[in-house]
Symmetry: C2
Subunit: 327 residues, 2 copies
DNA sequence: AAATTTATGTCAACCGGTTGACATATGAAA
DNA sequence: TTTCATATGTCAACCGGTTGACATAAATTT
């Protein structure tokens, strides 16, 4: 059986209260008592039971994370940073991969509440989860509008979309196509598309957008259609690097020379992308800063120090003009 | 204040014990009472406090995960599967990114014990963490020997190394170099190198191995040295796909034509790799099966159903012969 | 009519640590 | 000598849910 405070007290020859005092640095404690207690803890291999402690102080220092999947390097990297920053501030993270499924997300939401997490950071959201509407606990969204009272952190999606489109135009592309995720999701990421359309129209070009199916589905059909219907395409702005990689693959199989015949730019710019496909131009998101802001805002809410603003935080992106957009 | 069982009981007009009976399906409960209680729970937005429950039943259904970083797609994907399988079995996961740092790993190990996790799955390990030696709780290692009593799950590293090396030889390479992670770590992954050396020697070829620095360090120097010292290299077997991608990058900058002049094969074969660099040949690890086995063995230990064997589980790999090893 | 099953209530102990109230005993400062 | 800061102990209530013991009463069986 695991040792408890009473066991430590017995070994150290002091009272349980004294042990608790040592653990929490409360009241007066003599130096030698402190040492005796610490020795006893070491001897017994004692670890304070945080579950009991959490119950009493009514706080767990747990943060729930709901994201589609850690398999995706963008979320993997984001979660890495969130966990890191949280750990530095004394918080632990409970991980949930919702896989873009509404039923899973609901289950996780309930599970997290049962487990008394102090707050939730969610980057997944399937419309129609009313649970987010009654915010019984602090929540921060990343790139997802969850409800009118929940703050959202994102990269400057409009600026990113603008820069990407402008780059392709600057490099001489006329027939430029955009391909993005399911627009039915209410996400700031839709601004990437909005910016693309605005820039195209401003340059008297016709915007053409292809839309992906739900997250995780096989998208190759849509990309094939893109090429079938627009064989003379000169530039593609994909709303993330994974989609961009699929476009590249299809283009190569159709013998489009990149970048001379077709230029491509993606979005995200993860570390993995930098290593695995350095040649791909992209809009790099400030992932670690997004993580910082999210944790910061969540903890402010937890500590009741949040005044309701800002509801939206946009962080600057960085254009990476690499080989796939060479002139 | 959050509602508790007593509040539900009051609203439903029954006793707290009856509510608990409904929640746990114990003893006799009438149908209409059950309905009344459920309505009260819904009305109050009641979620049972798992912290209190965990304290009493002395079990948290929490599993601690210690891995270097979710940023790396291999760990990201592995963790995705682990979390999924665990969730299906009623377990939740607490995520820790040790970043290959011994101090962090020790801290996390202590934190997890304080938080009463039921078990730990660790894929990170810096030698000399004696904490693993006194296994106060169930542990499973992935690709890492933690202590003599802790079971390890891994891909069949020897076979993978063998297949990779044989492929390069079959494709006509003579001067083949291997590059791997820090061998100081006691990991089954070292068998990739052993297999490489064995196969080379069997074919009367000279094995040459370059070793990476500690995890996460900048490795470009070592790869540059590899090419400087072996300009006539014909084949490279990298011990993971990320290293392979760095080799490709350096080779391209030196105008080596791949695969005509230089053939490359990596190791891991994550989904991300398949999307981002489908052209890279690799040894694909059965990531979801590794996750399954790990969770299965951990839960067996938790349920005291583990008899100590098998201590080592090796799962079959799959050769992916793609463009970078074309003849 | 008696025995049994079903349904619910009351009560108290327990999980392990926290905290406040209060008692007691030093050694040091006033 | 008196006061006070220091050091430790005892005790009990509490966090929220679980569980066993026991009581009671209605509905079913036998």
């Amino acid at each position: 059986m695991k040792p408890k405070i009473a066991d430590v007290a017995k070994v150290a020859g002091v009272s349980p209260t004294t042990v608790s005092r040592v653990l929490n640095n409360r009241g007066y404690i003599g130096e030698e008592t402190r040492v005796k207690v610490h020795n006893a803890m070491k001897e017994l291999n004692y670890y304070p039971n945080e579950v009991a402690r959490s119950l009493f102080i009514r706080k767990t220092f747990l943060i729930g994370l709901i994201f589609p999947t850690t398999s995706n390097p963008f979320y993997g990297q984001l979660i890495f940073h969130i966990e890191n920053i949280a750990a530095a501030l004394g918080y632990k993270v409970l991980l949930c991969n919702s896989q873009g499924r509404q039923d899973k997300e609901k289950e996780y939401l309930e599970m997290l509440q049962r487990n008394q997490v102090d707050g939730i950071i969610a980057g997944a959201h399937n419309k129609g989860i009313e649970e987010y509407e009654k915010p019984n606990l602090p929540v921060v969204g990343i790139d997802r509008y969850l409800s009118s009272a929940i703050p959202v952190i994102s990269s400057d999606n409009y600026d990113g979309g603008k820069q990407a489109t402008q780059l392709l135009i600057r490099k001489g592309c006329i027939k430029i196509i955009h391909i993005n995720g399911p627009i039915s999701l209410e996400t700031p990421a839709n601004l990437r598309r909005k910016a693309y359309e605005d820039v195209m129209i401003k340059h008297n070009l016709t915007p053409i957008t292809y839309e992906m199916e739900t997250y995780g589905t096989d998208n190759s059909e849509i990309i094939k259609r893109l090429f079938d219907e627009n064989p003379e395409v000169e530039g593609v702005f994909a709303s993330d690097d994974i989609i961009a990689s699929q476009v590249i693959k299809e283009a190569k199989s159709r013998n489009y020379n990149i970048p001379s015949k077709l230029k491509i730019i993606g979005y995200d710019g993860t570390e993995t992308k930098k290593l695995m496909m350095p040649e791909l131009s992209t809009i790099e998101q400030p992932i670690s800063r997004i993580a910082e802001k999210a944790v910061e805002l969540l903890i402010k809410q937890i500590d009741s120090e949040w005044d309701g603003a800002p509801l939206e935080t946009k962080l600057p992106v960085k254009l990476i003009d690499s080989d796939t957009t060479k002139k």
